[in-house]
Assembly symmetry: C2
Homo-oligomer: 172 residues x 2
């Protein structure tokens, strides 16, 4: 999306600083995340990498995501149903995520949305909330509307407002 080369170069520098290396699989993963500009599931990263660099093995994508997470370049968000989404850290700064339980779309939210709640939880329970690593769950506007219309939207094609997919069979 942005200049991908700058990203690759800066990450390469960070890697070298830790005695690690910039390799083809890592470039491919970074490029995939950068181009999507959104939140990708593991499977989606694997798919994107497979398309751009077929020789890169699945296992390398797993290992790369771990390595880049350790570096701090990549972060993950836990979605409902055990799914996890990955995205570049730098992108838009820290923000919250909300996922529609029906269509799976992920929506970004300002990260001060829960600051008042966080303050209250800290005050009353001593719990230090970190809301960015888990997506809030609910119904997006579109799905809420169609649900009001008498459940008729049961079989609509999922809308991937943020380039996301979660073909989970269960109904929660």
């Amino acid at each position: 999306m942005n200049d991908g080369t700058a990203l690759l170069d800066s990450v390469a520098a960070m890697l070298r600083a830790k005695g690690e290396r910039m390799t083809a699989p890592r470039r491919a993963v970074l490029t995939a995340l950068s181009e999507s500009a959104g939140h990708l599931s593991m499977e989606e990263v694997v798919a994107a990498v497979a398309e751009a660099a077929p020789s890169v093995h699945r296992a390398s994508v797993y290992r790369t995501l771990v390595a880049l997470s350790d570096l701090g370049v990549v972060q993950h968000v836990h979605l409902g149903h055990g799914a996890t989404a990955y995205h570049l850290t730098g992108a838009d700064g820290p923000h919250l995520h909300a996922q529609c339980r029906r269509c799976g779309a992920i929506q970004d939210l300002p990260n001060d949305l829960l600051s008042e709640v966080a303050r209250r939880m800290d005050a009353t329970h001593g719990f230090e909330l970190d809301a960015t690593h888990v997506a809030l769950s609910g119904l997006c506007a579109a799905c809420a509307a169609s649900e009001d219309d008498g459940e008729a939207a049961e079989a609509i094609t999922p809308v991937h407002r943020h380039g996301h997919s979660h073909p989970h069979p269960h109904s929660h």
Copy 2:
């Protein structure tokens, strides 16, 4: 915890009303959840059932949790890292959950904690928040304190304040 017999009887009635049956595995799962009075992972339910009723097969626990979920008697909460916790529905009424990312303890929270946020999300984004199905993440009081003391708590033995365990190796 409460009178387990009343629970079993009422669920038996609900099952029969749907043409389904009360069986030994279902009794075992209900009893396990009832006695723990907290949130159990799949593995913990399997373990508890295995202890009380060794003849009950693992697969039946899976199927039973699905059946009881369909009945509405059991609910699940999605925790970070893909884990899922199960609990009886009736217990304390709807409530939110917060999980400590370090020790894994789950804390119940009043379910109106996010009502103001939910109102705002609905107003500004049309998103209908349902906060009870996903646990908020953060640091509990104990772990937050030890982290302030210079990271020294890195290797403490996990405290299961709520009868919970999550032996995840990753550091997030």
